[in-house]
């Protein structure tokens, strides 16, 4: 790149400063040195040597040389004139530079001109790369990285070289964007020492790093193990067995492992002692775990001797230790309720569920035993946490055990005193005070020993009654706090619909639970509505509110309850949308479809009834200007129009005559009409077969076929239409006719032309006859004459003759035959051609069955087949027919 720049600069100066009058291009001067990479801090001297020819031409010497870096003139103090032709410039202690140094001359004492230039770039030679290290990620190629040292400010190439004792490997050239690392091309071969070093090279020097020699197996970073399972043991509820698969390397190197675990809710990891996992293995049993607790594990591995790198951690896997019998008896208390029966009392025994770390499993039920003084005991098995029994006024002893899959807890024993029992040593100095966001209760213990204390309290609130709560404390304490959740769960919406919202929340952290969360309560309300409360089981973290009102702002909060009370979480607001998802689409799409369908039906209806519609709003008004004399009956005396002015001298039309020609329904269809149908079909079949079957063949090419068809049709049209009609200037049914009340016919029919421009008649005839029309006349005539002269010609043969007519022609013909009430005759030539076609006789007689159709759909087609020679209109319909 640098060299390229230098050459470009030099070339530029050569072109700027040389004379090339029939000679080789020769620069006016040269600068030495050509190489211009300068080390930072060094002195740099350049010498410009003028050519004799330049000196003579421009009358300059080295004294007239001055130097520039870029556009800045170098101070003259740095110059030194060596001799008459050479001048030098010196840059002491050169700084960071990348500039153009030019040698300039001042011609004739006032004109400055650059005669040569070089680009000087300053930089530093590469430093010796340091900290070369390599890593072999399992399954990948070796990658080495290094510290390249100081910035060189020059393009510096780093090459990683590697070799065995017996073999050299290809160099690994660091990419420009990652000059501090390189990944070799060859796969790693383990257990063979390889020597690696880096060479750094730029324009100012080349240096190699220290060589490192290692076995790639000692630089390997294995893939992390994959934990297959975490299994519990029924025999030991404190262990979990971890099994995994790890690197294929374990078949030939010894691995060591690092296993960490934690409970699911904990954030810190526990470490399995490294000495327990210092050899290759595929399973490990972790001990001293809590029963019925979910633990999360992760594992990594590396070479046993510690050479290389630890693998990444495996994906975490979890397992639950097996259950153990409940480790503690539940808290147990009672409440005597008033009873109307004499001699008995209703006692509600109540107890608290054990927290998970004491339940050691799922509590299946509780066993309550009630023993009356000196009497038989009574057993109850209860799934709930309370039991109401009717007791006599005697003293009872109640015991409670919690049972899980493994066994029973120790028994909680509770004495229910006789009804007349009086406590002799009550607790005194009971006081409560808030501290650290909890409510503390403190009391003075009695002198006698106490088995345990029971605290009872309730929340005093205007909104809710006093619901007594209780908690049990050991007999040794005299101060405790009321254990209710310290904070409520933070609820949020997971999904909000038009009439429902899915709420979700996280479980409270253990530290904030202050007990066992019994249930959650969701409170939600609108701005103006009443608050609604919903109780949710404590195991859930999601709930769907239903029957919400759309487009409404809701406020929702949650409270978590333990046996000791509850705590509200922060309030959350959300707004239900106005429309459910997809509702708009569900409305719009059917409406659009219905509209589309209606439109389509309308179009279809109009299409089917177009005749009727057209009859009412756009009846068939023949255009006289498009008339053809060919259609006129030769028996009808021609009407002579000298001019339009003559015809309507006052410029107003007085009447409108719509003329239709009724086909001769008496005439049977000729046989050849069938062949017309076939002809049409064959036209369809031969779509795309343009031109072809000989220029003389009827409709032999597509383009001419169109003309032929059109001509034919136009001829047919005109043959059945009265070409001129009286036109009312005021229009039909309030339609305003054009100002040009009688437009010139496009037809070049002889009569009209001769009437309008008699002098052109001959010319037009000649033109038509000589060029475009005559061949078609011949063609059509030939076709039709075949019908005449060879009536026995096979149907197939006739079909062949028209086989090249494309479908488009046919369709157009058919459409016009069927639907076009207002015939638009085509060019005069066509008309003329038709005049010369006697072959319509071939279609002449026998149009029964089609006559009616022709009558209704258009006069042209009817005439096509029905009145080949007689041009006299047979029927007058709709409006006054003006005999002509």
């Amino acid at each position: 790149m640098f060299t390229l720049q230098t050459w470009i600069v030099q070339a530029l100066f050569i072109f700027l400063t040389t004379e090339s009058i029939g000679e080789l291009i020769v620069p006016c001067a040269h600068i030495h040195p050509e190489s211009s990479v300068v080390q930072l801090g060094s002195n740099f001297t350049a010498v410009c040597v003028l050519k004799e020819k330049c000196m003579n031409d421009y009358h300059v010497t080295a004294n007239e040389i001055f130097w520039k870096t870029g556009r800045v003139t170098v101070p003259y103090e740095q110059y030194a004139v060596i001799n008459r032709t050479a001048s030098s410039v010196t840059f002491p202690n050169i700084t960071l530079i990348n500039a153009l140094l030019t040698c300039n001359i001042r011609m004739f004492g006032q004109i400055n001109r650059s005669v040569y230039g070089i680009r000087i770039i300053s930089g530093l030679p590469p430093e010796k790369p340091k900290n070369l290290s390599c890593i072999v990620n399992e399954g990948k190629k070796m990658m080495c990285q290094w510290d390249p040292g100081r910035e060189t400010h020059l393009e510096t190439n780093y090459t990683l070289k590697s070799e065995w004792a017996t073999e050299k490997f290809d160099d690994c050239k660091a990419k420009r964007d990652t000059p501090t690392s390189c990944t070799v091309d060859y796969p790693p071969v383990y257990f063979v020492n390889i020597e690696v070093w880096v060479e750094a090279e730029n324009a100012l020097g080349k240096v190699a790093s220290d060589h490192i020699n290692f076995d790639p197996i000692d630089k390997v970073k294995l893939n992390p193990p994959h934990i297959l399972s975490v299994n519990s043991s029924k025999e030991l509820s404190s262990i979990l067995k971890l099994t995994w698969t790890d690197s294929r390397f374990k078949s030939f190197i010894t691995l060591k492992y690092d296993i960490q675990y934690r409970t699911k809710d904990a954030s810190t990891w526990n470490q399995v002692p490294p000495e327990d996992t210092s050899s290759t293995r595929s399973s490990f049993t972790v001990q001293d775990l809590k029963p019925f607790t979910e633990y999360v594990f992760r594992i990594r591995c590396m070479k046993e001797d510690g050479k290389g790198y630890w693998s990444d951690w495996s994906e975490e896997a979890s397992g639950i230790t097996y259950e153990d019998r409940p480790s503690k008896a539940p808290s147990f208390w009672y409440k005597i309720e008033p009873s109307h029966a004499h001699g008995t009392r209703s006692v509600q025994l109540k107890w608290k569920t054990l927290p998970p770390f004491e339940a050691n499993g799922k509590i299946l039920d509780y066993e309550v035993t009630l023993t009356k003084w000196k009497s038989h005991s009574q057993n109850y098995t209860v799934k709930d946490t309370k039991l109401t029994v009717n007791l006599t006024n005697d003293r009872y002893v109640a015991t409670l055990t919690a049972r899980n899959l493994v066994g029973k807890s120790d028994a909680s024993v509770l004495t229910i005193p006789a009804w007349d029992f009086q406590a002799t040593h009550p607790v005194t100095s009971l006081k409560a005070f808030p501290k650290d966001n909890v409510l503390w209760v403190e009391w003075t213990a009695p002198d006698e020993s106490v088995n345990r204390y029971i605290l009872e309290w309730c929340v005093l609130s205007d909104k809710s009654p006093c619901i007594p709560e209780w908690q049990q404390e050991d007999g040794t304490v005299h101060r405790t706090y009321l254990r209710a959740p310290s904070k409520g769960p933070t609820v949020r919406t997971k999904k909000v619909g038009k009439n429902e919202a899915v709420l979700e929340w996280d479980h409270l952290p253990i530290d904030a639970q202050n007990g066992f969360i019994r249930n959650y309560t969701i409170f939600y309300r609108t701005v103006i509505g009443n608050e609604i409360a919903v109780n949710v089981d404590s195991s859930h973290t999601e709930y769907t509110l239903s029957s919400l009102t759309s487009d409404t702002l809701y406020m929702v909060r949650m409270a978590a309850y333990t046996d000791e009370g509850g705590k509200d979480g922060p309030e959350f607001t959300f707004t239900t949308p106005k429309f459910a998802q997809g509702e708009i689409e569900a409305i719009v799409v059917p409406v659009c479809l219905a509209f589309l369908l209606t439109t389509l039906l309308g179009v279809l209806f109009c299409f089917n009834k177009r005749d009727l519609i057209k009859k009412h709003i756009w009846p068939n008004v023949p255009d006289p200007s498009k008339s053809h004399i060919a259609q006129w009956s030769p028996h009808t005396p021609p009407r002579h129009f000298n001019s339009k002015d003559q015809m309507y001298p006052d410029g107003n039309f007085t009447d409108v005559s719509v003329v239709e020609i009724e086909a001769n329904d008496k005439k049977p269809f000729p046989d050849d009409l069938k062949s017309l149908d076939l002809f049409k079909k064959e036209k369809v079949n031969t779509e795309g077969h343009s031109s072809g079957i000989g220029g003389s063949s009827c409709m032999s090419s597509s383009r001419p076929s169109i003309s032929s068809s059109d001509e034919n049709e136009s001829a047919q049209n005109t043959s059945s239409t009265v070409q001129y009609s009286t036109v009312v200037h005021s229009g039909y049914r309030h339609q305003v006719p054009s100002v040009q009340v009688f437009s010139r016919s496009e037809s070049t029919q002889p009569l009209l032309d001769s009437e309008e421009r008699p002098e052109d008649l001959q010319l037009v005839d000649n033109v038509d006859g000589s060029d475009g029309i005559l061949p078609r006349q011949r063609y059509f005539k030939q076709n039709c004459s075949q019908h005449e002269t060879s009536p026995d010609i096979s149907h197939f043969e006739r079909s062949q003759q028209v086989s090249s007519v494309n479908e488009e022609d046919f369709v157009r013909l058919k459409q016009q035959q069927i639907s076009d009430h207002i015939s638009q005759p085509y060019g005069s030539g066509k008309m003329k051609m038709f005049q010369e076609v006697p072959a319509v006789d071939a279609f002449g007689p026998g149009i029964e069955g089609q006559v009616e159709r022709f009558e209704t759909v258009g006069m042209e087609a009817a005439v096509d087949e029905g009145m080949p020679k007689s041009y006299l209109p047979q029927t007058v319909r709709r409006g006054g027919y003006m005999p002509q």
Binding site: Y190, D215, F252
Partner: protein, 202 residues
């Protein structure tokens, strides 16, 4: 089966074998000395043992992968088609001195390396989509190459062995498809067998 007995050619080493046993080998002068780019590591024998263990640990999988990739009749006729009946395979005496064992190991590895090159070449043609097999063949060839380098280093540095006569396996380039597959299978069967012996011997 035509075997190129290269014993007539005094060779020091064949580090860069290429597919095709018929290609000429570099001929080192008889008085060639051991020149290595850098000194051999002190744990060279340990490395050789590890390499042999590595090769032995993967030999069976390579053998299975090979005959599975060939399709029938190979998987169901292993005894007939893939028996380790390789003639002219270099001998090995486990009870020899270390020097003798290393020389014999060198011959075996050189032989296997060339044969494996031929198999790899053939398989890329015969089973172009068996990428796993190609990969394992290449990895095995690389490991053999490394083993050869280590053995050379050891012979040079400790025993000053200047040259070892080596023999190459059969050239399969002119064989038909079935013969190529069969020879490859026999060779890999032999490879599996001999690696078990070598891994025990060092």
């Amino acid at each position: 089966m035509k075997v190129l007995a290269a014993g007539v050619v005094p060779l020091l080493l064949v580090l860069h074998w290429k597919p095709g046993a018929g290609s000429p080998l570099p001929i080192n002068p008889v008085n060639a000395t051991c020149n290595t780019h850098h000194p051999c590591p002190s744990n060279l024998m340990s490395q050789i043992r590890s390499q042999l263990a590595q090769l032995n640990g993967t030999a069976n999988a390579l053998f299975i992968l090979y005959y599975t990739a060939q399709g029938e009749p190979f998987p169901n006729n292993l005894d007939k088609l893939c028996g380790p009946n390789v003639t002219d395979f270099p001998p090995f005496q486990p009870n020899g001195t270390e020097k003798v064992r290393l020389v014999e190991l060198y011959r075996i590895v050189a032989y296997l390396g060339t044969a494996l090159g031929n198999i790899t070449r053939d398989q890329k043609t015969l089973n172009p989509t068996a990428h796993s097999l190609h990969s394992k063949l290449n990895a095995t060839a690389d490991t053999l190459r490394g083993l050869l380098s280590n053995v050379l280093c050891r012979l040079c540095s400790k025993y000053h062995v200047a040259h070892v006569d080596v023999a190459y396996g059969p050239d399969t380039s002119g064989k038909d498809v079935f013969q190529k597959k069969k020879l490859g299978c026999q060779l890999l069967g032999k490879y599996k067998q001999v690696m078990a012996v070598l891994a025990q011997a060092f």
